[in-house]
């Protein structure tokens, strides 16, 4: 189906969200809680755009909005820009010292208001990506807990998690680097738990936890695999490709 975005036409697929379409076509819509590969969450509200459906104009969150035939989209306007700035201001109130949010504020010309800024240290903007990552790639070790302003991400009872495998997927997806992970002396500490790290048999660097490795092997249904880190795996793959191509050309 044909969709008009900021004056240009684009081809979209039924069932796609506006954000997916935009990403495919390198159209920039600001976002925090969206990540390729995950379904839209609609939590941060930054991706709001204006949609004209027939005679009706409305503001929608592009990460969740399913495209429809014949709609017209404006990704910026005075109204939308004002909204984006206010949303960033609200995030800045919550996490006034977080680098990522501070940079975003700078980019959009949003200034801090000290009187209403959070006086306690906070880096999490409750985008929920870490929970989704743990759900899809990990073991459901963390979840969104409580309600309203006391909402937070934590392990059950804020305790050492029995389920966490230390894979670090949550850290990877976090847009504000709010999750503490430390790798030191062959041990990884995350979510109040310490894991033993495994060394790569090729380069000797620590690259994953024992539990993570076991989890992946369980999923794959094998119990024996060489301990090779991503980097070395890629290197070995590319040299294998080099070999094959050598024989073709």
């Amino acid at each position: 189906m044909l969709i008009k975005i900021d004056g240009c036409f684009y081809e979209g697929n039924s069932g796609e969200t506006l954000m997916e379409l935009a990403k495919r076509n390198n159209i920039d819509i600001p976002h925090l809680c969206y990540k390729d590969g995950f379904e839209g969450l609609g939590r941060c509200r930054l991706c709001l755009v204006e949609v004209i459906e027939g005679k009706r104009k409305k503001i929608v969150s592009s990460c969740v909005y399913p495209i429809q035939e014949g709609i017209e989209v404006n990704t910026t306007s005075e109204k939308i820009n004002k909204m984006r700035k206010d949303i960033i201001l609200l995030l800045l109130f919550r996490t006034p010292e977080n680098e990522y949010i501070k940079n975003l504020a700078l980019e959009y010309g949003v200034s801090k208001i000290d009187r209403y800024s959070n006086k306690e240290e906070e880096n999490c903007i409750l985008c929920g990506l870490c929970v989704k990552a743990c759900e899809k790639l990990g073991t459901h070790a963390i979840s969104l807990v409580n309600r309203g302003t006391t909402k937070k991400v934590s392990t059950p009872f804020d305790d050492t998690s029995k389920d966490c495998i230390g894979c670090g997927a949550c850290v990877e997806v976090c847009p504000t680097n709010a999750i503490k992970l430390s790798d030191e002396n062959g041990k990884r500490t995350i979510w109040n738990r310490t894991f033993d790290l495994v060394k790569c048999s090729i380069c000797g660097k620590y690259y994953t936890t024992e539990e993570s490795l076991k989890y992946t092997l369980d999923m794959l249904g094998t119990d024996d695999e060489e301990h090779i880190c991503e980097y070395c795996k890629k290197k070995s793959m590319s040299s294998k490709f080099k070999e094959s191509f050598k024989n073709i050309y």
Binding site: V64, P66, M83, I87, L90, L144, R147, G148
Partner: protein, 607 residues
């Protein structure tokens, strides 16, 4: 007067309000006191009914066919009622209702100003039937509409009738019910579900509670009719955790209905199958939002979702679902029985039928009132409500709960309907009407609503979660005397964004109480900020009291009530408050028989 041989009916209200005042004991004493007496020719029928709506004057006992209504009946009054009224047909004057408008005692409650103007459709059976006796319901045309639907009408005809009636959702948004049913009907995707929103969370609203407790069968009948219309075979009633009696009565009514063949397989021999299940809420206001409610039924936290695809297409478990409010369901059987035209003739154009309002706050007669849509607000507050307590000056009403807005004196004649109320920046909401007088601080009311909403926000989206919290901080500052003029600009700026950018109706309507109080009572905000003074005398840091010497009669009651002995004066001479000692507790202000204690200038202690 009752004739010999005519069966008397004695109805005792056992809704939550009257139960809190020992009405069940009244009921039991009446039953025991009248059992097997040989001085009564015909044994009276004694029933425990649901809420009559005038809870403040309860327990309420109604005696038919005499047409006598007794109020504030205590268990110790029962013997007198039996001796005097039942045996000797005498009226006990002191138990009669005193109508402050008509300035006289009323024998039959239907003649009271509070009841006279009412037109009961949704509340038609409440207070007249024992909710646990399905026979009572049947005797009053109960399940007749269901008969008609299953045996004489097609699903299309049912939807048509509901659509023609103009019924709009009574839960808040006022979406045309028939249109909703029709959309759901069109989706060829099964199973479909029917849901009742019994999560009445608006503070100040209790009409849904009253209907669930007092006439559960009307909801059951309405839902089965919808099931037939859209080809659904399963319905859920989501009932708030705090409404234990409602859940109990609803479950008993469902079980009874099933045993009588109104639920289950082959209802009334029609071949149609339908059943109902109650789901208990968990103490979350946000679960009154339809998508959050469905998430809760599914076993998740009550977080709403964006509704670009409506629930009639993808609702409960992504299946087509019709969700309606308790009061909406209660209107369905009468509409089917009496026809769409009958319903359309009541109310106003585009707002047909009646609405149940819960009139509460600083008004003399508090309780449930069912009146035609379009009735003026002034009529509700003064003619029916009897005006402000102690006849203090009227200030505003809040309609629509935390999602609504305040309506000031200059708009008193506004018709109470969906469109008029939303045009003025408020909304109908569930029908709560909270009356405020000059002792209510509008800034504090806005702060109260933001506090409520900040605790009830599910926390999913930035604008609602952080936005409401920020507005709360700003308003708290203002009520403490720490406000600045820029705060008003910030409130308006953020309010606009929160309205547009929030994910669900809770967030989108959250700024309304703030925006409307700013619109109509801006001076009060400025008074708090610039002059550090609360004109209503509510914000303690910004209040001082003084005694108007032209009004004070020197009775000395205030001095006696003062906990810190800050009031001095001779008998029959004007008294004086020592502001230095005064702790602003408000006792003198509340107790003065002449309202001579007034709110004075800015507090010297404000900062």
């Amino acid at each position: 007067m009752s004739e010999i041989g005519t069966k008397r009916r004695i109805l005792i209200c056992c809704g939550t309000g009257c139960l809190a005042n020992n009405s069940y004991e009244v009921y039991e004493r009446l039953r025991n006191g009248l059992k097997g007496r040989d001085d009564i020719s015909v044994q009276p029928e004694i029933k425990a009914t649901g809420c009559n709506g005038l809870c403040e004057k309860g327990p309420v006992v109604k005696i038919y066919p005499d047409g006598i209504s007794y109020f504030k009946v205590a268990p110790k009054d029962v013997d007198e009622i039996i001796e005097k009224t039942i045996l000797r047909n005498e009226v006990i004057n002191r138990l009669l209702y005193f109508d402050t408008n008509q300035k006289k005692k009323i024998t039959n409650h239907i003649d009271a100003s509070f009841y006279k103007h009412q037109h009961k459709i949704a509340l038609r059976n409440i207070g007249e039937v024992d909710p646990l006796e399905t026979d009572d319901y049947i005797k009053r045309d109960g399940f007749k509409a269901l008969h008609k639907v299953l045996l004489e009408m097609t699903p299309e005809e049912v939807i048509d009738e509901v659509e023609k009636s103009g019924l709009r959702g009574r839960g808040g948004a006022g979406f045309p019910t028939g249109t909703k049913w029709k959309s759901c009907y069109k989706f060829d995707n099964f199973p479909k579900y029917v849901v009742c929103n019994g999560d009445e969370g608006d503070p100040g609203a209790f009409m849904d509670r009253s209907i669930m407790e007092g006439d559960p069968n009307t909801i059951i009948e309405g839902m089965i009719i919808c099931g037939y219309a859209i080809s659904s075979h399963k319905g859920f009633l989501y009932i708030r955790d705090e409404y234990e009696l409602a859940r109990k009565n609803m479950q008993l009514a469902i079980d009874k209905a099933r045993s009588l063949g109104y639920l289950g397989k082959d209802i009334l021999g029609s071949g149609f199958e339908f059943d109902l299940e109650i789901v208990r809420g968990g103490g979350a206001f946000v679960c009154g939002e339809s998508s959050a409610l469905m998430a809760s039924i599914e076993g998740n936290v009550g977080e709403p979702r964006a509704k670009y695809i409506r629930s009639v297409e993808k609702g409960l478990w992504d299946q087509p679902t019709v969700l309606n409010n308790v009061e909406t369901w209660a209107n369905i059987p009468p509409i089917i029985l009496n026809g769409a035209n009958w319903f359309k003739e009541i109310g106003s154009e585009k707002n047909s039928g009646t609405k149940v309002f819960s009139l509460v706050g600083k008004v003399k007669n508090t309780g449930l009132v069912e009146i035609p849509m379009g009735t003026k607000l002034s009529e509700l507050v003064f003619d029916i409500g009897g005006g402000i307590i102690k006849d203090r000056p009227f200030k505003a009403v809040q309609t629509g709960g935390p999602s609504g807005g305040c309506i000031p004196k200059k708009h008193m004649d506004i018709p109470l309907d969906f469109d008029s109320l939303s045009n003025i920046g408020s909304m109908m909401g569930s029908g709560g009407v909270i009356v405020m007088d000059d002792t209510t601080c509008m800034v504090e009311i806005a702060r109260y609503y933001m506090e409520f909403l900040s605790e009830e926000s599910c926390g999913k989206c930035t604008t609602c979660r952080e936005g409401i919290n920020t507005m709360l901080k700003i308003l708290t500052n203002i009520t403490l005397g720490k406000g600045q003029l820029e705060d008003i600009d910030l409130l308006e700026q953020l309010g606009e964004t929160i309205k547009i950018a929030s994910l669900c109706a809770l967030g989108k309507t959250a700024p309304n109480p703030v925006m409307t109080t700013l619109r109509f009572f801006r001076d009060e905000y400025i008074e708090h900020i610039v002059n550090k003074r609360c004109p209503a005398g509510v914000c303690k840091n910004l209040t001082t009291y003084y005694i108007d010497k032209d009004v004070c009669i020197g009775c000395g009651i205030c001095a006696k009530k003062c906990p810190v002995n800050a009031i001095t004066g001779n008998n029959k001479e004007p008294h004086v408050i020592d502001v230095g000692k005064c702790t602003v507790c408000g006792n003198c202000f509340a107790i003065c028989p002449k309202m001579a204690v007034k709110v004075g200038g800015a507090s010297a202690y404000a900062y």
